[in-house]
Amino acid sequence: MIRLTLVLALITFVASLGLGFVYESTVPKIEEQKRVTDELARRTALPEAACGVFVRVKYSAAAGDSFIYYMGYRNADTTQFAGYVTKAAGRGYSSTIETVLGVDGNGKITGMKITHQQETPGLGSRIEEVKTTKSVLDAIKELAGKGETPMVAVDMVDSTGTVRCLEVMLKDQPLCGEIKDLVAGGDTSAVVDLAPKALGLSPEDSTAVFCSPPLAFGVAKGVMDKLRAQATPWFLKQFVSKAKGGLLVATEDTDQYIQAITGATISSVTVTESVREAMTILEEAVGGFKEETP
């Protein structure tokens, strides 16, 4: 019995010595990676300060815990304030999920990025999605080569009659207004003719798809889903609905910057709750967000 114990103890001892050595030699490298990840995450979360600087602030809460946040500025000489960035952490299903979040001066979330998680596959491991800087329009153009894109412009009316996605897709396009009017007027066949032009595609590329308006309408819906999945995190909507009543998300302009993806209920609730908690402390730390009426 003693021999068994001794052998096992010896093996464990040798193994931990080896591990300690490996840990010592890799830890600087890992810390460096983490620093870069965090730095990039801050710039993602607060897009206005993407090219600016961040100033680290340490706040000692009443309870004695310290809380770190960053003030983000648009410029290097820290005169133009953009917002705050801080890190939220919460216990998920199988790991601690860390979220870097950006908050503007009014207390609205401008963006998030999950920087650490080890959730179980199928139960939230996809809670973060690779960030894409592609706009919907870029995605459309990229897909154009496949011949399945141009019907996009028609997906402006969903089955409940709501006009959506038009602005996002055609924001900078010269024909945007014209198409908008046509949609409002219900003249779908004219939209079908105009859409390829607005997207900068030759009509030859798109005629096949546009041959029948109902078909074009139908296909468009699916394609838009695909494009949305590429251009914005695919669970954004779920996150917003789960966060309702507590968090304000500055959605309009920064859809593509919000990085919280929620795969499973436990993981997404963790993110939501930890973000809410961090917001409360942050509000206390910065002495309250300015109330501004839009």
């Binding site: 021999r3 068994l4 052998v7 096992l8 093996i11 464990t12 193994a15 931990s16 080896g18 591990l19 490996v22 840990y23 890799t26 830890v27 490298k29 890992i30 990676q33 990840t37 199988s94 080890q118 959730e119 179980t120 596959p121 491991s125 080569g145 496949k146 011949g147």
Partner: protein
Amino acid sequence: MSVSLTREFTKGFIRENPVFRIVLGLCPVLAVTTSLKNGIGMGFAATFVLVGSNVIVSLVRKGIPARIRIPCYIVVIASFVTVVDLVMAGYTPELHKSLGIFIPLIVVNCIILGRAEAFASKNTVGRSFIDGIGMGLGFTFALAITAAVREIIGTGKIWDLVLLGTRYNPVLIAVLAPGAFITLGLLIGLFNLLERKEG
């Protein structure tokens, strides 16, 4: 001990391929073979652990009482996995991130414990080393084939290289979970067929 070292090395590829013939370690095979990069990364990580644990287990095989051999093997294997985990986190962060939870899970990969128990504990260090490399590369080979098939069919690309052009409509299911099962099943069938042909 009449088996030659070369044969000990090559058996892992086809004849005793851990995935296609012995059907072990299927969890990573199914989960990480969505791209060739992930598959090969996982394969090499497992190979490193396999070679390391085989050598150590073989070295200490005479000193370990039979009753506690399994806990001892697990300590050795877990140590090597932690080494791989730390090194990958430091030097290949992208790969580390995309393999995620499956790196720590190498600990419970039955190929590694299987080789320790069935081979390294009964053979010399040299043979165990060769066996580890052969089996590890056989595992990598299996992962690479499965991953390559899935990536080409499912995305039309391989290792960031566009293979099938923009006119190809990728069979999305190949990179989803059902595609892993279908691909693996068909590949195992193919290997059975190859073996039957050989006699």
